[in-house]
């Protein structure tokens, strides 16, 4: 009989971190990531957030996520557009997407 396996594919994304968030990622501002996903399913950005937290984040996860979503005060940009213009947490990540996480600044 055949062994049923869950086939995995990789989705390439260009991640950027700014406004101080890069400090949570070992001071890396740009990371090219290969994110595993089940073949046949789309990669939800919510899944990507958790994957980033579990695989790339080096410290203080509470400064990146709050519950299942991004923490208040972090702007998520998908291809230079606020993710709220792209269905927010429901957005399905495409191969090659640029995804920027930027903490808002308050200094003057």
């Amino acid at each position: 009989g055949s062994l049923e396996i869950q086939q995995e594919i990789m989705v390439n994304v260009k991640l950027e971190f700014g406004g101080g968030l890069e400090l949570l990622f070992d001071n890396q501002k740009k990371i090219s990531a290969e994110v595993p996903n089940d073949a046949g399913n789309k990669l939800k950005i919510g899944t990507l957030l958790s994957w980033i937290r579990d695989n790339l984040l080096k410290e203080r996860p509470e400064l990146f996520m709050q519950g299942d979503t991004i923490r208040p005060g972090v702007l998520v940009l998908i291809n230079d557009c606020d993710w709220e213009l792209c269905d927010g947490m429901q957005y399905e990540v495409e191969e090659g997407d640029s995804i920027v996480f930027i903490s808002t600044l308050h200094g003057g």
Partner: protein, 302 residues
């Protein structure tokens, strides 16, 4: 020429000649500028360049709001102050520099800064508001007052070697006094649409904690002046940073402009009835301290 009819004397024509020559600005733009009023909240790293350039450009009335005094550590970036004015109130020092550049500019000094008690009244008497504060709590108060009073808000911030700038509430959301249903006309998103919850304390750095490269707020503050001048001269939202945000990474010499969300219908500040709960009547009782609890918003800004 045209500009004689705008009531400028020979002196003003000479002084503002480089604006009068400007396509898409000219005498009509300068006349609007001379009759305009701009409120600058915070006379620090961003407020100093903004006030110098707005005074130089001939804005009619300049409101300066800050409770603080000039500290020696301000001088590496706050170029409207001087060594000789350490200890002087920032609004006095700022107004003195504005007057040296342009005697004809009227300066209003709001030396208690912007608070829930005075925010709506102060903001109401200006055409445009510039947020140059170093304090998220005041950023929310200023935003909410701008939504209530129907004023565009030119907002910027910077820390370390990064800066951000946007124009909020432009065009302004309908105000409660308007006959149109609140929040239903097209308008620009506000600061609270963007950031409905306050950030956690540890996620916020300010210039006193994290430092700032001195010339960086210069770049942002000057750009705030550019946007304010465009707005009072009648430039439409799509020619300003309304609905967009500039991200400037001075460390890598990178700049990008990104698109922001549409106004949020259930926004407490600019949303539709019954979501808009922060109004002229309720702002004073809105609990900014509770909203900012656990965040650094409650910290007094430097």
């Amino acid at each position: 020429p045209l500009y004689y009819s705008c009531g400028m004397d020979q002196h003003a024509i000479q002084r503002y000649s480089r604006h009068l020559l400007l396509r898409d600005f000219g005498a009509a733009g300068q006349a609007r500028l001379l009759n305009s009023s701009v409120l600058i909240v915070g006379v620090g790293g961003l407020g100093c360049p903004a006030l110098l350039y707005l005074a130089a450009a001939g804005v009619g009335r300049l409101g300066l709001a800050d409770f603080d005094v000039v500290d020696e550590s301000n001088l590496h970036r706050q170029v409207a102050h001087t060594e000789g004015r350490v200890g002087m109130s920032k609004v006095l020092s700022g107004a003195a520099s504005a007057k040296l550049l342009n005697e004809s500019v009227q300066c209003d000094l709001i030396s208690e800064g912007i608070t829930p008690s005075n925010a709506v009244e102060v903001v109401s008497s200006y055409d445009v508001v510039i947020d140059c504060t170093d304090n998220p709590r005041v950023r929310y108060i200023v935003n909410d007052a701008c939504c209530i009073a129907g004023k565009p808000l030119v907002s910027a911030a910077c820390v370390q070697m990064e800066g951000q700038l946007s124009v909020y509430n432009y065009p302004p959301a309908p105000t409660a006094m308007d006959s149109s249903p609140v929040g239903d006309a097209p308008h620009g998103c506000c600061y609270r649409c963007m950031f409905p919850s306050a950030p956690p304390a540890a996620g916020v750095e300010n210039c006193s904690d994290a430092g700032v490269l001195g010339a960086l707020p210069g770049v942002l503050g000057c750009m705030q002046a550019v946007e304010a001048v465009k707005i009072v001269a009648g430039f439409p939202p799509e020619r300003t940073f309304a609905g967009r945000m500039l991200l400037y990474d001075g460390h890598g010499a990178l700049l990008r402009v990104v698109r922001l969300r549409n106004p949020v219908k259930h926004c407490l500040s600019c949303g539709s009835h019954p979501h808009r709960t922060i109004t002229r009547q309720t702002l004073l009782s809105y609990d900014y301290d509770a909203f900012c609890r656990g965040s650094m918003c409650s910290a007094r800004g430097p």
